[in-house]
């Protein structure tokens, strides 16, 4: 578990150092250790004054900066040749190592910036969910293929897609549901469809939405139109499709008539 502390706008001591180097206009290839150490410590100090919990990484960096700085102030000890080299930590080498680390981190930070742009443009592209191909006879095989298994990661991807899709779709459902479509308006819609086609329309074709509210309103609209003799419904035989057509002389049907408002 990552602990809760995380100072501010910086991603860590390296990020903070890069920031200081940039604002102080320091040459990253020739870091003045004393100056950067002072600035760094001052920053940390202020963070603590603000009673902010400073993550351990920052303190560790502070410690190593101070170590490098103090060693730089001391004269290099004369070591006998036979002593192993690593007894003395050359502050120049430490400074070099820090520089390498900063440069390396900076590369990835830049790469992250670039990816952020990619992410931004990708997020602006919306698309539709795949159509249901089952109507074209695509059946998921009843037997599980052993060779090509879906993986957990396929599943996580599917969930991500689902979220993306919901972003584009959810309100559609809620809007239709909450709209409480007025019957009068739906009557107009039905009449205008019949007028446009100029021929009988299949009953089922008048119900393009699976939304329940929509179905009920359309059905009520049809009943009302039948009652007012605006439309006629015909059925050739039991259980065959019902054909809906306009009655004669309904051209003057005024959908705005008060009677049609509910």
């Amino acid at each position: 578990m990552e602990y809760k502390v995380k100072i501010d706008a910086f991603e860590g001591p390296l990020d903070l150092l890069l920031h200081l180097i940039k604002t102080l206009e320091i040459d990253i290839y020739d870091i003045p250790v004393a100056q950067i150490t002072d600035q760094y410590l001052q920053f940390i100090h202020h963070m603590r004054q603000l009673e902010l919990d400073v993550a351990s990484e920052y303190l560790v960096m502070a410690a190593s900066l101070v170590a490098i700085k103090s060693r730089m102030l001391l004269p290099k000890p004369e070591l006998p040749d036979e002593e192993p080299e690593d007894v003395y930590e050359d502050p120049e080498a430490s400074r070099e190592a820090l520089m390498q680390q900063l440069l390396d981190y900076q590369r990835y930070k830049e790469a992250a910036e670039a990816l952020k742009e990619n992410e931004k443009s990708r997020m602006r592209l919306y698309t539709k969910p795949p159509s249901d191909l089952s109507q074209y006879g695509c059946a998921d095989a009843a037997l599980m293929p052993v060779s090509k298994r879906a993986t957990v990661h396929d599943m996580m991807h599917a969930l991500q897609q689902l979220i993306r899709r919901k972003i584009g779709r959810e309100p559609l459902h809620t809007k239709i549901a909450k709209q409480a479509l007025p019957i009068g308006k739906q009557m107009q819609a039905v009449v205008s469809v019949l007028k446009n086609t100029r021929q009988p329309v299949l009953f089922s074709a008048l119900f393009p939405y699976s939304d329940r509210g929509q179905l009920v309103v359309t059905f009520l609209a049809l009943l009302e139109l039948m009652k007012k003799n605006v439309i006629a419904c015909r059925q050739e035989e039991n259980f065959s499709d019902i054909l809906v057509s306009l009655e004669e002389g309904t051209d003057e049907f005024d959908p705005n008539e008060d009677a049609f408002h509910y």
């Binding site: 501010d8 698309t127 293929p145 979220i163």
Partner: protein, 213 residues
Amino acid sequence: MSLTPTKMRSIIEGLLYLTGEEGLLLDQIAKVFPDAPEPSIREILEKMKRDYEENEASGLMIVEIAGGWRLVTKPFMATYAEQFAAIPKMTPLSQASLETVAIIAYRQPISRMEIEEVRGVKSEKALHTLMAKGLIKEVGRAEGIGRPILYGITPVFLDYFGLRSLEDLPPLSEAVKDPGERPDEVDLLYNRYKETVKEWSDDNAEQATGEAK
């Protein structure tokens, strides 16, 4: 600022594509163009419909039923869709099945209706497929009206996805748990705090540069 008919056409086309087979009501389209009169929107739709119909290089067309407008494939596409459907898929489980089984795995026991709420689409076929493959099973019935069947995953699920136990499932991102969630006050507070710190450090750096000179 009012939009040109060309711009409006492009926006309507985009929206029709996004809503796919479900389509859009004229009202819904009109809401996107609060300044445009409804007849002008209808005109654009009618024109677009004719254009698609006449364009031999397009496999799509626009249909209008009961006030709803939809972008769909032309009838001749059925043959090719069949051919395409017959091609073995990249993933052995369809997107629909994967989504459904994932929701069940994370939220079991769960009813079909709850699954459909999360997915926003009918999920009967996916449930059928998953049952047939033995990845899910009925685990009981919920209390309440209709006592809907509850689904859960099976040991075959674990085996199929190579998991030792359900605890091996990757952590779910917040969005799936509650897709509508907004950043809460904590985030807002945090952002404000970040800015303060940033300002402070910029000031300080400036000062330091000044001193160095």
